[in-house]
C-alpha cells in the first residue's frame, strides 16, 4: 500500500539530506557521468546523432545509477541510523518511504544528464534540439517514475539482510549494458533481448530518442508504444515491490534482523 503523505515526507527528508551535504550525490552519479563522457569521446570520431544518443542515454543511466545506489542504501541508511525500526512501528508503509526516496534520487540523477550535456556542449559543441519537447518531458517523467519503482524492488530485499546491498548494486552496470541507452540494442546478442525488454530504462531511452530524432524507432513500437510498455512495466514492478515488501518485512520480523547493521 502506498501512502502519498509518507512518499512526500520521505522525498522531503531525502531532499533535506541532499541540500545539507550535496557532495554525497557524487558517488551515485559519478559512474554514469564518467561512462557517458567516455562514450562521448568514443563517439566523437563518428559524430552526428551518436553524440546526442550519449547525452540522452547518459541522463537515463544517471537516473538509474542514482536510483539503484540509493534504493539499496535507503534501508541501509536507516539500519545504520537505527531508524528502520522507528519507521516500521509507524502506520505508514516502508515501501512508501523507499518510493519517496527513490523518486528524489532518480530526479537528482538527472544532474548527470545536465553534466554530460555541458561536457557535450563545451568539449564537442553538439547542438541539442528536440523534435517533440512535450513528448520528451512526458517520457522523461515516466522514465523517472519507472526507474524509481524498479529501485523499490531492490530496496525491499535489504529489509531482510545487509548482503542484499552487494547483490543489487551488481545490477547497476548490467542495466547500462542491457538498456542500450547509448547504443542500439541490435549490437547485443539476441539472447539478451528479453532482459533488455524487461528493463524500464530500455523503453525510457527509446521514447526519449524518438522525441529527439526524426525517424528514429529502433524497437518498432513508436513513441506511444514505448511509453505504453514503460507504463505497464512500472505498474508490474510496483505490484511486485509491494508484494516483496510485505513478504520480506514479515521475514525480517520473524528473524529479528531489523536492528542489525
Amino acid at each position: 500500500m502506498i501512502e502519498l503523505r509518507a512518499v512526500k515526507a520521505a522525498l522531503k527528508q531525502q531532499s533535506i539530506h541532499f541540500f545539507v551535504d550535496p557532495q554525497w550525490v557524487i558517488p551515485s552519479i559519478i559512474a554514469p557521468f564518467i561512462f557517458t563522457t567516455v562514450t562521448l569521446y568514443l563517439f566523437s570520431h563518428t559524430g552526428g546523432d551518436l553524440l546526442l544518443y550519449a547525452v540522452l542515454g547518459g541522463g537515463v543511466l544517471g537516473m538509474w545509477g542514482n536510483t539503484i545506489q540509493s534504493s539499496s542504501w535507503s534501508i541501509g541508511y536507516d539500519r545504520m541510523n537505527g531508524t528502520l525500526e522507528a519507521i516500521m512501528v509507524t502506520p505508514s508503509s516502508l515501501s512508501s518511504v523507499v518510493l519517496g526516496r527513490c523518486i528524489w534520487n532518480s530526479f537528482i540523477g538527472l544532474l548527470n544528464a545536465l553534466a554530460v550535456f555541458l561536457v557535450a556542449q563545451l568539449a564537442f559543441g553538439i547542438d541539442v534540439t528536440l523534435r517533440d519537447p512535450a513528448g520528451f518531458v512526458i517520457a522523461l517523467f515516466l522514465t523517472l517514475i519507472s526507474l524509481s519503482v524498479l529501485g523499490m524492488v531492490f530496496g525491499a530485499f535489504y529489509v531482510v539482510t545487509r548482503a542484499s546491498s552487494a547483490l543489487f548494486q551488481m545490477l547497476e552496470f548490467p542495466v547500462y549494458v542491457l538498456s542500450g541507452a547509448v547504443y542500439s540494442l541490435a549490437i547485443l546478442p539476441e539472447w539478451t533481448r528479453p532482459f533488455s525488454y524487461v528493463i524500464p530504462a530500455t523503453w525510457g531511452a527509446e521514447a526519449l530518442k524518438i522525441a529527439c530524432f526524426t525517424g528514429y524507432d529502433s524497437l518498432g513500437l513508436g513513441y506511444w508504444g514505448a511509453l505504453t510498455v514503460l507504463l505497464i512495466s512500472t505498474i508490474a514492478f510496483l505490484l511486485l515491490s509491494l508484494q516483496l515488501f510485505s513478504y520480506l518485512e514479515h521475514k525480517a520480523k520473524v528473524s529479528g534482523t531489523l536492528v542489525r547493521y
Binding site: A10, N81, T83, T161, G256
Partner: protein, 326 residues
C-alpha cells in the same frame, strides 16, 4: 478512564530466533529468547519489565510494538492482535528505543519530528502545534533548528521521547529509556514518564535499573532467560523477601569458586558479587543470617575480611532471588 481495563494482554508468548537471516530459507541454530511469557497491563499504569541483559525484555517489547512476529502465543494491545492487525494498531502506539541512534542526525530536531508526524499521519492542522508543544515539553525549543548530530546525548534522548509522543499514543513502549544518561537527565526523563502516566497514557518500559523500576512502576514483571519469574508491585515483591535477610560480606578478594560455595550453602537463595574500590562485596539473600555467618566466615578464611553485616532485603534482592530461581 477505567483503571481496570486490560490494555495489553499477553498469553504464552514465545519467540525463537533463527541464527541468521537469509534471503531464502533460514540460518542454522535457533535461539529461544522468550519462553511462554504471560501478563496483563491495565490502562494508565506504568508496567516495567525488569531483567538482566539478554533476558528477553527487548524481544518482548518489540513483539508488542509489532516489530517482531511471535513464534507462538497471543498478544493483544488495545484489543488488537499484534500479528493480525498491526497497521491498525500502530497509529495508537509508539516505541522509544533511545540511545545514540534512532534519529536522522543530518536533520534538525524539528525536521525529525515533522517527518515522523507525517509517518504517523498526524492531522495536518495538529502537526505544527503538537511539534511545538513537544519540543517545549522536552526542553528542546531553543535547539529545534539545530542538527541532531550536534545534540548531546541527553538532548537526543529527549528528542526520542518527543518523537515517541508525536501521535499522542494511548500506549507507549519505552525500551531502556534512561540507559546511558547522566543522573540529572535520567531523573528528568523519569519525571516526564510519570507525568505522562498521570495523563492517562499506558506505559510499558524495560529496564535493568532496580531503583528505576522501584520508583516508577506501578507493577513489574521480572524476566530472566526468557521466562517470567514474578509479577507484582514493587512493594509486593519486597514483601516476598520480607522474611529473608541479607548478609553483606566485604573482603579484599572473593573468588568465583568461593561465591559458588556460598551460593550452595543451605538457606541461601541468591548471591551477587560486586567489585568495589580495592575490595569486593558479596550480597546474599538468606533465610537465617545468624546460622550462616560463621560458615561464611570460615569459607572466606585466608581472605582478608573487612566486614560482615546483616541488612534488610531491597527490591534488588527480591529480583536476585527470583532471577536465581529455576
Amino acid at each position: 478512564m477505567n483503571a481496570n481495563e486490560i490494555v495489553i494482554s499477553v498469553k504464552d508468548l514465545v519467540k525463537v530466533y533463527p541464527s541468521a537471516a537469509r534471503l531464502f530459507g533460514d540460518g542454522g541454530k535457533e535461539k529461544l529468547a522468550v519462553d511462554h511469557v504471560s501478563f496483563d497491563i491495565h490502562r494508565g499504569e506504568i508496567f516495567g519489565l525488569l531483567g538482566p541483559n539478554g533476558a528477553g525484555k527487548t524481544t518482548t517489547i518489540k513483539m508488542l510494538s509489532t516489530l517482531l512476529i511471535p513464534t507462538s502465543g497471543v498478544a493483544n494491545v488495545l484489543g488488537i492482535d499484534v500479528t493480525k492487525d498491526s497497521l491498525k494498531l500502530r497509529s495508537r502506539i509508539n516505541l522509544v528505543s533511545g540511545g545514540e541512534r534512532g534519529l536522522y542526525f543530518r536533520l534538525t530536531g524539528r525536521q525529525n519530528l515533522d517527518f515522523f508526524s507525517d509517518m504517523y499521519q498526524v492531522p495536518r492542522e495538529l502537526k505544527r502545534k503538537r511539534s511545538l508543544e513537544l519540543l517545549d515539553l522536552v526542553g528542546l525549543t531553543d535547539a529545534a533548528d539545530v542538527r541532531v548530530e550536534n545534540y548531546s546525548r541527553g538532548m537526543k534522548q529527549r528528542l526520542h521521547l518527543a518523537r515517541g509522543l508525536v501521535n499522542d499514543p494511548e500506549v507507549l513502549f519505552l525500551d531502556e529509556p534512561t540507559l546511558g544518561l547522566d543522573p540529572e537527565i535520567a531523573r528528568e526523563t523519569r519525571a516526564l514518564i510519570h507525568k505522562l502516566s498521570e495523563g492517562g497514557m499506558t506505559i510499558m518500559l524495560t529496564t535493568h535499573y532496580m531503583f528505576e523500576a522501584d520508583q516508577l512502576c506501578d507493577r513489574l514483571a521480572i524476566i530472566s532467560n526468557g521466562r517470567i519469574k514474578g509479577i507484582g508491585s514493587p512493594y509486593s515483591m519486597k514483601e516476598a523477601v520480607r522474611n529473608d535477610t541479607v548478609i553483606e560480606v566485604e573482603a579484599i578478594e572473593i573468588s568465583e569458586m568461593q561465591k559458588e560455595q556460598m551460593k550452595a550453602l543451605p538457606g541461601v537463595s541468591a548471591i551477587s558479587l560486586e567489585v568495589l574500590e580495592g575490595r569486593m562485596m558479596a550480597r546474599m539473600v538468606v533465610e537465617d543470617a545468624s546460622s550462616l555467618i560463621p560458615t561464611v566466615a570460615s569459607l572466606l578464611e585466608g581472605r582478608k575480611i573487612i566486614s560482615i553485616r546483616v541488612d534488610q532485603p531491597t527490591l534488588e534482592d527480591a529480583y536476585l532471588k527470583m532471577v536465581s530461581s529455576k
